[in-house]
Symmetry: C2
Subunit: 154 residues, 2 copies
DNA sequence: GGTGAAAACATCCAAGA
DNA sequence: TCTTGGATGTTTTCACC
């Protein structure tokens, strides 16, 4: 689990695996110019160093019937610890919440949510309000996905 | 590329692959209760039906030196087609922009961006403004990632 | 950092339910 | 029609160079 020196080969492996997480070591070998066993070893080292956190299939929204995305900005009723903790617990439990960030600015938190339809979104907001720790919510429904989950680049 | 009937086995395969995109067909076999060859066939069918859009390694932010996330709300100067098209072209080109959504509400677009630091964020905003199609920007810097890229559930 | 071999794996196909 | 198990080529990974 030690932090390895990360060279250009590693960077290329990271970039390639981010674009295609099922590349074989043999395919990586051709693409980066190292032997397959070397790619295997480097990949495992990157995983152990927690630079690769996981591998995931990206699903079409309709695969899970969550074709509606909404961005929700939340302001808590107070900035006390107990309200923040209660809210964060709900955020973690709610499977419709994909991203949750504590942010600077007018809102305290910004959420990205994926639901089936407006009725589900309404129910989700009801559950959030029911926690009695939310002062104000501003919701923006996504009309068009211009770009989504694009790869990180250096 | 036809749309298959999606049964509980398929749903389980989708869920498992979303959580671990490198599961082997043999591992899937144990987890869903079908033979490995059957899992292989179903997985390929789900890929062909575009319900699985791809497989990706999830990287640690520090792997690509983009440890700062900011949410940016953009309002265009006008709602004319030429401004929208110019803005969307920039959004697609800018690799720091991870998500870009056209939304309802005060803003026209909501962006999620990943950059190295405040200086890079400042430069990014400069490039956005330089397009002369932006009327107003509201930026919220992420202080804490409560939850990120969690799996879609039905 | 590469090689080669053993074990594990993916996928195709024939045949059964 | 949907599923299975075995055959075959591929891939991973490890000891060794």
């Amino acid at each position: 689990m030690k932090m390895p020196e990360i060279d250009d080969f590693d960077l290329k492996i990271l970039t390639l695996l981010q674009a295609n997480g099922r590349l074989t070591n043999q395919e990586l070998s051709d693409l980066v110019g190292l032997s397959a066993s070397q790619c295997s070893r480097r990949r495992i080292a990157l995983e152990n160093a927690q630079l690769i956190l996981g591998y995931h299939a990206r699903l079409a929204p309709q695969a899970m019937n969550v074709e509606m995305v909404a961005m929700i900005e939340v302001r808590l009723v107070s900035h006390g610890v107990e309200h923040a903790e209660r809210f964060q617990r709900i955020v973690v439990e709610e499977s419709a919440i994909i991203d949750a960030y504590k942010t600077t600015g007018d809102a305290d938190y910004t959420l990205k949510t994926a639901v089936a339809d407006l009725a589900s979104l309404n129910q989700l907001m009801g559950r959030l309000f029911a926690s009695n720790c939310i002062g104000h919510i501003k919701t923006a429904v996504v009309l068009e996905r211009i770009k989504e989950n694009s790869v990180l680049t250096h």
